[in-house]
Symmetry: C2
């Protein structure tokens, strides 16, 4: 199928390779779906929210309450991810993976709460092995339901004050880079704030002697990250196209990639984030993100913003004329 797809791409009415990365995307998606006429069906984003015990150590500029307040904002449609999903006809679902707040049952929120936030990983593992397994399983269950409903392209976002710390810790444990190269400004720390965050995270990495992917996830991760990781692994099993967002989503992907190295075949990276560690994650994974617009918001926004470009790759493959169709002369 790869050869046939490449032939179809090359004989569209354009110089060979002139659509650059769109041609690579068309080839990738055609191969995933094993067809010359791929389709993107029922695009869906799941946004996982959870709290982090490590916020006790003052590693974020925003108070912890912002996690549940932003979940409310998602439910009212006022956040960036709502706006971009609406713009691109993407179905958006919000998942409570572990917010430290009890939402009324009447809210249009998927209740997948494993705990009221993680524990403080400076003092103890963020979650128990059992909680981590539950989060992974719940993420898989949610994705299985979307696949059964006909979705074949899925993006993941997150909300959790403190979660750039969890992502940096996962990154450090997997890449073994110095912690300084994994830590960034998050929602907007100044240099003193970054120094403090770095020192806290250094101590956390020293506390937990973990190497297996799920052990890393449990020791220093987050409930939203674990659930997203389980969701990504299931999306690969279901042969969906997986849209990966920024720093935190990529930390979940890195764990998934340790568990199933073939997951990269199904993944498209929406953007490279302004959070400094993300560029190094991207290099570590050897992948090529679509956008580089200085975004650092999370929620899945970078992946949602890249969605029309992913769609453009399918559109040109399915709708452009070939040289033969159009009676256009080929190059010498």
């Amino acid at each position: 199928m790869k050869k046939e797809l490449q032939h179809k791409i090359d004989f569209k009415t354009k110089p060979q390779g002139a659509l650059g990365q769109l041609e690579e995307l068309a080839l990738q998606i055609g191969q995933i779906q094993n067809t010359l006429t791929p389709e993107l069906k029922n695009p869906t984003f799941l946004v996982f929210a959870a709290d982090h015990g490590l916020t006790e150590e003052k590693i974020s500029t925003f108070p912890k309450e912002v996690t549940f307040q932003m979940v409310m904002n998602f439910l009212y449609g006022g956040a960036a991810i709502n706006v971009f999903c609406n713009q691109h006809d993407i179905t958006l679902k919000i998942v409570d993976a572990g917010v430290d707040y009890d939402f009324p049952d009447t809210y249009k929120l998927i209740n997948a709460k494993i705990a009221h936030g993680t524990k403080n990983s400076l003092k103890e593992p963020a979650m128990s092995t059992n909680e981590c397994e539950q989060a992974l399983a719940k993420g898989a269950e949610l994705v299985k339901a979307e696949a059964a409903a006909g979705c074949n392209v899925i993006g993941f976002g997150e909300m959790g004050i403190g979660n750039t710390s969890a992502a940096a810790l996962i990154m450090q444990k997997i890449t073994k880079l110095p912690i300084e190269q994994c830590v960034g400004a998050g929602t907007g720390l100044d240099n003193d704030g970054i120094d403090h965050k770095t020192e806290v995270l250094r101590k956390v990495t020293q506390k937990h002697n973990v190497t297996a992917p799920k052990d890393i996830l449990a020791a220093v991760g987050g409930l939203e990250i674990a659930m997203m990781c389980g969701a990504m692994l299931e999306a690969k099993k279901q042969n969906m196209l997986i849209l990966v967002d920024g720093f935190i989503a990529t930390s979940a992907f890195m764990v998934a990639n340790e568990i199933d190295k073939s997951i990269k075949d199904n993944a498209v990276f929406g953007h490279v984030s302004n959070e400094q560690g993300h560029k190094r994650m991207i290099e570590y994974l050897g992948v090529k993100p679509i956008l580089n617009m200085g975004l650092r918001l999370g929620e899945g926004t970078g992946a949602a913003l890249a969605y029309p470009l992913i769609k453009s790759s399918i559109e040109f493959l399915n709708k452009m004329a070939s040289f033969e169709d159009a009676g256009v002369s080929e190059s010498n």
Copy 2:
């Protein structure tokens, strides 16, 4: 208005600056329209087509006939720019600025033909002063009509076998960079082909001792480039948002920028092209393109592909909740 816009952007429910380049775009477009609630109305792309006498010197891999064949392809809806304009509800109009082919009157093509292609600029000026002025005026006239019909965002594309040569020549005359730094592979020359093209273009630059922008345009430009330049200048006068595509469109913009330095205020650059000179044009102009996807197709495709991101900047500005609206705590 700049201060009020920045305030509105900063108090959306996200960390300050977290939407990166989208925030810069929202600020720019709000300032152009002098409002806190900008709108993109009747987005329209004009694609200008023309032939080039310099193709006699074998500076392209494609035969000259491809210009008119691709115009036919545009009219039948089979080209990349058709697909991407359809995807984003952009009105597309095709303009014959100087194709060396007589299209039947019944075709849905704007007949603005100034000549049957330019002359061979290795031997004589590509066009007369009068032809150049006619092309500029016609471009302005077409844009004035779009503005009168309610369009406030306009993109420009081009088709013309040989026109990366004309663009490289314009670039060299304006930037005064060595010709080697302006010449690229165009539709797909190999290294020998690029060497030959470079030597031809070096002789052309030596033949024409021109410095004034319109003299450069007439001596070494193209009819589609001149018409696009006139169109851009008028779009600035009409205070429209101007979407600039790749190497050839940027060469037209460079001439327009020499004539009216304020035009940059209204311009957004869709992408940085894989045609090697484009990066240097972008540096010379000191602008920041949206996409970097290795595109090198022209037709306006890079600008059309960037359009949903431009729209996203307006959408977040108009539709996201503020911290106050949403009851979300601000950062410390």
